[in-house]
Subunit: 253 residues, 2 copies
Amino acid sequence: MIKVVILGGGNVSYHLTTHFLENTQVELVQIFNRTIDKILKFKDKTSITTNLNELKEADIYIITVSDDAIATLSSELNLKNKLVVHTSGSVSLEQLKSNANKGVFYLLQSFSKDTEVDFSNIPICIEAERNEDLLILEKLGRSLSENIYFIDSSQRQKLHVAAVFVNNFVNHLYYLGNDICEENNIPFEILQPLIAETAKKITNLLPFEAQTGPAKRMDTKTIKKHKAMLTKSQEEIYTLLTNSIYKTYGEKL
Amino acid sequence: MIKVVILGGGNVSYHLTTHFLENTQVELVQIFNRTIDKILKFKDKTSITTNLNELKEADIYIITVSDDAIATLSSELNLKNKLVVHTSGSVSLEQLKSNANKGVFYLLQSFSKDTEVDFSNIPICIEAERNEDLLILEKLGRSLSENIYFIDSSQRQKLHVAAVFVNNFVNHLYYLGNDICEENNIPFEILQPLIAETAKKITNLLPFEAQTGPAKRMDTKTIKKHKAMLTKSQEEIYTLLTNSIYKTYGEKL
């Protein structure tokens, strides 16, 4: 059994907690948070505390607090020779301010408290200063998911930007599409099979090969017609992305 | 049985043909194309022709040629009192130049010849000048899919722009994400569960509610760090979309 303490009470903490509590390979010995309210619901399942001086013995201490709070919280820990990891995509390993052994346990998924997450295929990106710690993190990762990757701090930060493009920005394009539908009394659900197919297509094809549409073939007539229908801010995005697609194919084909 | 003639030999023609040939409610009586090569493979399944004067009797003539060719081809047809429809998202009903009765049969999906398409949940947007033709198109639509929508020419053109945002532009963001991964020796597959989850999330939540990330919370520290990692053209897109997200929440929250 891998003994784990979770620090923090946000979405990552919540999802890790619920999965560790059902996990036969992991013993969740404690949850720490500065305030008790967010972790109170687990009081019958494991030890909970708001006092860093009461941290229990464990193999891994997982810091799940927000990026800005990682340095401060880690500097308050006195866990020499223990393994302390954070779960952030954009914070480097060095930003753990601790005399402990350091590592990263980054789950590449977008968590909301209301949505159950299937952990079995979540990519988990691990990093550690010491090889033996990497092996423990790998074991912990494999108890949750089949997709474990060794990703260093520099790669992880790049990956985090890439995730912003394919998750945050993609969702914003859904929002803009939804907006255009609403303005014209079109049910947004009409677009959902296309959205699903677009995401599915790139599991077999590279995005470069999967591209279609007026921008790729520089169909200026359709592009002009489209622009005339858009608001100024919609048009700005339309134009920049259209030019970027055109440049991609103009230069590479 | 609804008797159908398909005009054109591209992707839409191909997919409609293969589905109509298996459809017990539809008799595909003929395929026309200006050149024989693209429709030759169906010669044992139905009548094929390159001669507009040899068109057979049917209930519906479906024009599947490219947007630019619709006006010309339709003007060459002599199908008075017959129903002629096109399958384009961005061409209005009026651009059918014909003495026939006019309609639109628009399948809202991105077709590639190599990828089999599940028609059962494809949205089909129909429009016709006459109510009785709308009913025939509805019947034809329901023989293929459960999702039939009555969408007029103005709405359809807006829908087509919205589809560009959620399909063409989204795929380009996948491309940019893939590019960042490649530059840093990160396998793109790491991002695929996140991509799938992002698309899935908006079947339950509005995109406005599903938004997460540094732009939404105007996490300027992370945004600055991200920008520093990007090429000039990646950064331009990052900045515009980040500002657009921020404006969306700054104004609406």
